[in-house]
C-alpha cells in the first residue's frame, strides 16, 4: 500500500485507469437503462412504477457503500497515517451525500404510488435519512476546521463514530417499528425478483459503482492538486 502513497504515483495510475472507468460507466448505464426502461416488463402489481427501482436501489446501495469507503479510509488514516487516506475519505463524502439524497427522493417517489404516503418511518428509510445527516455533519467538519491535518483527524473520528452508529440506529428503529406497526410490514421488492427485473437492477448497480469510482478518482486528483496549490501559495507569500 505504501507504493501508492506517493501522490505522483497515484496520479499516474489514476490517469491510466480513468478512461476505462469512464467508458465502462457510460456503457453500463446505456445497457442498464435500455434493459430497465425498454425490455423489462411491467410489474403486475406496481405497473410502470417498478422501474423506479432501477434508480432507487442502486442509489441506496451506493449511499451505504460510499460511507463504508469513507469509514475504511478514515480508519486507515488514523491507524496507518497513509497520506492519501484522508483525501479518499474527504472526496467520497459529497458523492455519497448525492447518492443518499437521490435514495431518499426516489424512495419517496416510489413510495407515494405504492404505499400512498410520501414518507414512512421504517428502519430502512430512517437509517438512510440519518445517513444523510451523517454525511452533512462530516462535510461540515471539513469546512469548519481550517488546518488540514487537524481537520483530517477530526473528520476521521467523526466518520468512524457515525459508522458504528448506523447499525445501532437501524436496530433501534426496527425494534421501535415492531412496537408501533404490527400490522403493515412494508416490504420493498416482495417475493423473489424475476430475472428480467434483476438483471437490469444489477447492471445499474454496477453502473452506479463505476460512476462512483470514476468521480472519486477525479475528485482525489483534484484534492491532491488543491493541496499542492495551497502549499505553493503559502511558499509564495513566505517569499
Amino acid at each position: 500500500m505504501q507504493k501508492y502513497a506517493n501522490p505522483t504515483r497515484f496520479n499516474a495510475i489514476a490517469g491510466a485507469v480513468l478512461p476505462w472507468c469512464a467508458g465502462l460507466t457510460v456503457l453500463l448505464f446505456a445497457v442498464g437503462l435500455y434493459l430497465g426502461l425498454v425490455e423489462a416488463p411491467q410489474d403486475y402489481q406496481q405497473g410502470e412504477t417498478v422501474r423506479i427501482m432501477f434508480v432507487h436501489v442502486p442509489a441506496a446501495w451506493m449511499a451505504m457503500a460510499t460511507y463504508t469507503v469513507m469509514a475504511l479510509a478514515s480508519a486507515v488514516a488514523i491507524i496507518w497515517r497513509h497520506p492519501l487516506a484522508d483525501v479518499a475519505a474527504k472526496t467520497a463524502a459529497p458523492i455519497g451525500a448525492c447518492f443518499t439524497f437521490l435514495a431518499l427522493v426516489t424512495g419517496s417517489l416510489w413510495g407515494k404510488p405504492m404505499w400512498g404516503t410520501w414518507w414512512v418511518w421504517d428502519a430502512r428509510l430512517t437509517s438512510v435519512f440519518v445517513l444523510f445527516l451523517l454525511y452533512l455533519g462530516y462535510i461540515a467538519i471539513w469546512q469548519a476546521i481550517e488546518e488540514p491535518t487537524r481537520a483530517a483527524r477530526i473528520a476521521a473520528i467523526v466518520a468512524l463514530v457515525g459508522f458504528v452508529n448506523i447499525p445501532i440506529i437501524k436496530f433501534s428503529v426496527d425494534w421501535w417499528n415492531s412496537l408501533h406497526q404490527p400490522a403493515s410490514v412494508l416490504k420493498v421488492g416482495g417475493p423473489a425478483i424475476h430475472s428480467s427485473i434483476l438483471i437490469p437492477l444489477l447492471i445499474m448497480a454496477v453502473a452506479y459503482t463505476m460512476l462512483f469510482l470514476t468521480l472519486h478518482l477525479v475528485a482525489m486528483r483534484t484534492e491532491i492538486m488543491k493541496r499542492r496549490i495551497h502549499n505553493m501559495e503559502r511558499a509564495e507569500v513566505a517569499g
Binding site: 445527516l133 469548519a144 483527524r153 473520528i157 457515525g162 458504528v164 452508529n165 445501532i168 440506529i169 428503529v173
Partner: protein, 222 residues
C-alpha cells in the same frame, strides 16, 4: 480517584458560579414545555399521548444546549493543555467533565421532568419510569455531548455542527428511553429490557466517548 473527584468538583463549582448549567437548561426546558401545547393544541388526551416523547426530546435538546461549556473555556485559556500534562489520562479528564455535566444538567432535569410533565398532562403512572429512564439515559447523553464538544472545540459555529453530529447518536437513547417510560401503560414486559438497554448504552458510551473525545482533543491541541 482523588484527582478525579477534584476535577468533578471544580467543574461543578465553575458551572454554579457561571450560572450556565442547570439553571439555563431548566429555563429552556420550561420554555419548550410551554410552547409545545401552544403549538399542538390544548387537547389533554393528545398531550398525554405525546408527553413521554416530548419530554425526552426536550431533555435531549437541553443537554445539547450547553456542550460548548464542557471544553470551550478551558481550551481557550490553556487549562485543557495543562490537563493533558497532568496526572490523569485525558480520557479520564473527559469522563470527569462529562460526569460533572451530567450532575449539573442531565440529572437535575431528569429529576424534575416528572413534575414538569404535569404541564403536558403526563400520566402519573409514568412518573417513576420516566425518572428512572431519564436518570439512566442522561448519563450517556452527557457522555456523547462531551464527544461532540471535543470534536468541535474551538471551531466557530461549532454549536450548530454539534447538533448535527450528536443528535443521530441520540436516536437509540430516545427510542429506548421513551419505550422504557411508556411501557407501563403499553406493554409492561418491555420496561425491563428497555431500561437494561439504556444502561448498556450508558456503559458503552462510558468507554467509547472518552476514547474518541480524547483523540479529538489531542488532534485539536497539537
Amino acid at each position: 480517584m482523588k484527582t478525579f473527584l477534584c476535577l468533578v468538583r471544580r467543574e461543578l463549582v465553575l458551572t454554579l458560579r457561571q450560572g450556565g448549567g442547570a439553571g439555563m437548561a431548566l429555563g429552556f426546558f420550561l420554555t419548550v414545555l410551554v410552547l409545545l401545547p401552544l403549538g399542538i393544541g390544548p387537547d389533554l388526551k393528545l398531550l398525554q399521548r405525546l408527553a413521554p416523547g416530548a419530554l425526552w426530546i426536550t431533555l435531549l435538546l437541553s443537554v445539547l444546549l450547553s456542550t460548548d461549556r464542557i471544553f470551550g473555556p478551558d481550551y481557550e485559556d490553556g487549562s485543557l493543555e495543562l490537563m493533558t500534562m497532568g496526572p490523569m489520562p485525558l480520557e479520564l479528564v473527559v469522563v470527569g467533565k462529562a460526569f460533572a455535566h451530567w450532575l449539573g444538567t442531565g440529572l437535575p432535569l431528569a429529576v424534575l421532568a416528572p413534575g414538569l410533565g404535569v404541564l403536558l398532562n403526563l400520566d402519573s403512572a409514568l412518573f417513576l419510569p420516566l425518572l428512572a429512564a431519564m436518570v439512566l439515559g442522561s448519563l450517556s447523553l452527557s457522555l456523547l455531548a462531551s464527544l461532540g464538544a471535543a470534536v468541535t472545540v474551538g471551531i466557530r459555529k461549532g454549536g450548530m455542527i454539534v447538533s448535527l453530529l450528536i443528535l443521530p447518536l441520540y436516536v437509540p437513547i430516545l427510542i429506548f428511553g421513551v419505550a422504557a417510560t411508556s411501557a407501563v401503560i403499553g406493554v409492561p414486559e418491555l420496561m425491563g429490557p428497555s431500561m437494561l438497554i439504556l444502561a448498556a448504552i450508558s456503559l458503552v458510551s462510558l468507554v467509547v466517548a472518552p476514547v474518541a473525545a480524547a483523540a479529538a482533543l489531542r488532534s485539536h491541541m497539537t
